[in-house]
């Protein structure tokens, strides 16, 4: 069976020399790899077209930028803590003792062509990478795109978020400067507080005492080999699952749970996505040419004795640093000669709990609704008021912790006391999420009610008519069927009725599920039905 003959008969009518070459090359490769199968499968796959579906792409493309700029940096960076004297061109550090890691980073900054640019591109891209993942996760959360069949992809994406944070942390620690060195000191202090094994974990990680001679080369291996390998592998699985499950889409005319409507990969989606890659790269490059990031020459080499006012980690570690700052005093107890540093253990436990809840949320919601169907329609946040409110509460919790990390800067910039800022944030940490939950739920329900009004009564057209009896009324333009469909096509859930199981027992699990279900769906707005619509028309 000759594939070659098939290929020849399918070459287009206009066969110049270029097309002959392409045809020949395609044939050569296909005869060895069956790649035409992949082209058939993927080439016209449909991707729906909404801006919020591109947030994952921002993270993917910034990761590519990170890989490119990072590779350049590896050619010049020396991951060694051996002490050297600096004799590069930055005058205020001339003759100073420092590690080879710090010295090579200074070298990249001041004496390598394009070095400073690549360093700044790399670091700005890293900040953007984690931010884009966060925003992408928020989009997926608030549109319910984590529901079946995408629960596993949510978990994978979540792990990618954690890995991205780890990549960032290991990366900014590599220059071995004063700021990141103090960050390592803090991490070491937290590790040491772990009961039983803490001092040993610290001892093994740092190759002895802090700071030792081994931690930078070890973080380097994590940063350029182990963690990127995991990230790349998980991104690959993430993309494969995306292709198998196809992308979700918002409800709309012609869009159902059983189809995908949008543009095909070739040519439109490839052009837009490819163009977007260059736009992301361009924006990062623009920022890196104009704005300083991580000015390590100001911080000086790491030394356990000096410290800078305004010592913060990169933004994505801020929530952890903030939690440390917000702990009240005196939370340490000695029991039987063993020290329980609750001022460190409570943040560790609470934050782990927080991220675990985020990770398993799809399974929690699936348990609450009992809905085992596949869902391919992205929901509008207002149509799931409780989920949206939970998300708002989570975001508020995270944001208060994040603000905590900047407590001293908030105090100086708003001319207030650090004590006042910290007290305010401590209160907000408890009150804020509750208030955010309540407000978000109320707003979502109100928006749903407004949607119902729109469907039943139409838009206010700003035309006023005066009726014969003297009454003034504003004319409402009814929605056309397409606009109507967008406002009525959402899933509606009712609280789960408590029923005895097959053996006639009401289990604790069933009780729990029923009360959580009530918490979720007690307050709900139903979509407008044809009957209601008919009764409106008079």
């Amino acid at each position: 069976m000759s594939v070659a003959t098939q290929k020849k008969s399918s070459t287009p009518a206009s066969t110049g020399a270029g097309m002959k070459f392409v045809g020949g090359a395609a044939n050569y490769i296909d005869e060895r790899t069956s790649i035409s199968g992949a082209v058939k499968f993927l080439g016209r796959k449909i991707f729906p077209d909404h801006w919020s579906f591109m947030l994952g792409e921002i993270s993917l493309y910034s990761f590519v930028v990170i890989l490119l700029s990072g590779t350049f940096l590896t050619f010049f960076y020396d991951p060694s803590m051996v002490e050297v004297h600096y004799d590069g061109s930055y005058v205020p550090l001339k003759g100073i003792h420092m590690s080879a890691a710090y010295s090579s980073t200074l070298n990249i900054t001041f004496d390598i062509r394009g070095g400073l640019l690549m360093r700044q591109v790399h670091h700005w891209a890293a900040l953007l990478f984690v931010a884009a993942i966060g925003l992408h996760m928020l989009r997926v959360f608030f549109t319910g795109a984590f529901r079946k069949p995408r629960e596993i992809n949510w978990v994978i994406g979540f792990v990618l978020f954690i890995l991205a944070m780890a990549e960032g942390f290991t990366g900014y620690s590599l220059p071995d400067d004063l700021l990141s060195g103090n960050g390592l000191r803090i991490i070491d202090g937290m590790i040491k507080a772990i009961p039983g094994i803490g001092t040993w974990i610290s001892y093994l990680l740092f190759g002895g005492e802090f700071p030792g001679n081994d931690v930078i080369p070890r973080l380097y291996v994590l940063h350029i080999m182990l963690l990127p390998a995991l990230v790349i592998a998980l991104i690959a699985i993430h993309m494969v699952l995306l292709i198998i499950n196809k992308h979700t889409q918002f409800a709309g005319p012609g869009r159902t749970n059983d189809n995908v409507v949008g543009s095909p990969i070739l040519p439109v989606f490839a052009a837009k996505a490819g163009g977007f890659f260059f736009l992301v790269f361009g924006v990062i490059m623009l920022i890196a040419s104009l704005f300083t990031i991580n000015p390590i020459w100001n911080y000086g080499p790491y030394d356990p004795s000096p410290v800078s006012a305004g010592t913060q980690p990169d933004w994505y570690i801020g929530f952890a640093d903030g939690m440390l700052r917000l702990m009240p005093p005196g939370l340490e107890f000695v029991v039987n000669g063993y020290t329980w540093s609750l001022n460190l253990l409570i943040p560790i436990v609470v934050l782990m709990l927080f991220i675990v809840i985020v990770m398993i949320y799809p399974f929690i919601e699936a348990w609450v609704t009992g809905d085992k169907r596949e869902h391919h329609i992205a929901e509008r946040p207002r149509n799931q008021p409780t989920r949206t409110a939970i998300g708002a509460a989570g975001v508020t919790f995270y944001a208060v912790l994040w603000a905590g990390a900047a407590s001293d800067l908030v105090a100086t910039h708003f001319r207030t006391t650090i004590e006042g800022v910290i007290l305010t944030l401590q209160i907000l940490l408890i009150v804020g999420p509750i208030a955010a939950f309540w407000m978000a739920k109320k707003i979502a329900l109100a928006l749903q009610r407004k949607d119902r009004e729109l469907v039943l009564h139409g838009y206010e057209s700003s035309r006023i008519v005066r009726l014969p009896g003297g009454e003034y009324r504003e004319i409402h333009t009814p929605l056309d069927e397409f606009e109507q469909w967008k406002l009525v096509s959402f899933d509606e859930y009712a609280p789960e009725q408590l029923r005895p199981n097959a053996r006639g027992k009401i289990t604790i699990g069933a009780r729990m599920r029923s009360s959580v279900s009530r918490f979720y769906f007690e307050d709900r707005i139903a979509p407008v039905t044809t009957k209601e619509l008919e009764s409106q028309k008079h």
């Binding site: 837009k272 924006v283 100001n298």
Partner: protein, 261 residues
């Protein structure tokens, strides 16, 4: 316009405006004539600088520091604080303090240099204290040693790039951009308010010159990486990324996925 019935009378339509302007001018001039600043033309008749200084002190500082500068409940004693303290506090505008608060704030300088020198001379005459150095003696330091000393002794309050920082209970360490070298020297020697005292036995005169040289280097050399976002570190960088980078890219995605017209 009708000539027959001029309802506005014989006043010109712009007359109200002119009247207001005249009134403003007259009252302004009168005010300026009546209140004078304590300029040299209005200086006390006495010839010596110390006498001048004593008088200026009496009318501007004594309410808190006492007529003899021995202090009161409202302000500490200045006896022994030397001419250098006066040069720093008054020369940077911190004194006279305009209101109570956790710390004296830097604000526009209220006196001319001769007046400051006069007050400094008077305070110096009360008891021996640090004097004001010549600006030319504060040059030629080594910025490399200065940077290292700065990181160990100064950066924890003032930030590694001199961007300033927070202290307890609403106090702050101010930024150090474009500060007169004499004032940098003065602050180290006199230890204003909660700043520790860095005498020449702690940081030698030569080392102080090195620190001043480093600060000068920072002032003269803007960051190689571009605009520095205030040198505040990862907080401003993170805010920038979320607002401008991610914000800009989201705006681009909205453009990208919108239907073409």
């Amino acid at each position: 316009m009708s000539r027959t019935l001029n309802r506005k009378g014989r006043r010109h339509p712009l007359s109200s405006l002119v009247l207001i302007l005249v009134g403003l001018f007259v009252s302004g001039a009168a005010y300026a004539a009546v209140t004078g600043t304590a300029t040299a033309a209005d200086a006390p008749v006495s010839a010596t600088q110390i006498e001048d200084g004593k008088k200026l002190f009496a009318s501007n500082c004594a309410s808190c520091h006492g007529l003899s500068a021995a202090g009161s409940a409202a302000g500490p004693s200045l006896i022994g604080s030397g001419a250098l303290s006066v040069e720093f506090q008054v020369g940077s505008g911190r004194m006279p303090m305009s209101g109570s608060g956790p710390q004296a704030e830097k604000k526009p300088v209220q006196f001319t240099q001769p007046e400051i020198d006069a007050m400094a001379a008077w305070v110096a005459s009360l008891a021996p204290g640090p004097g004001v150095p010549e600006a030319s003696s504060l040059t030629g330091g080594d910025p490399s040693n200065g940077a290292q000393l700065f990181r160990v002794n100064c950066a924890m309050c003032h930030n590694v790039a001199g961007a300033g920082g927070a202290l307890t209970e609403g106090k702050w360490a101010p930024h150090l951009k474009n500060i007169d070298p004499v004032h940098v020297y003065a602050a180290m020697v006199t230890g204003p308010q909660n700043m520790p005292v860095f005498s020449d036995m702690n940081i030698t005169a030569e080392e102080k010159n090195d620190i001043i040289a480093y600060l000068k280097f920072l002032d003269e050399n803007p960051s190689v990486g571009g605009m520095d976002l205030g040198s505040l570190g990862p907080v401003s960088e993170g805010l920038f990324v979320w607002i401008f980078a991610l914000g800009g890219l989201v705006a681009i995605t909205i453009w990208l996925s919108a239907k073409s017209n």
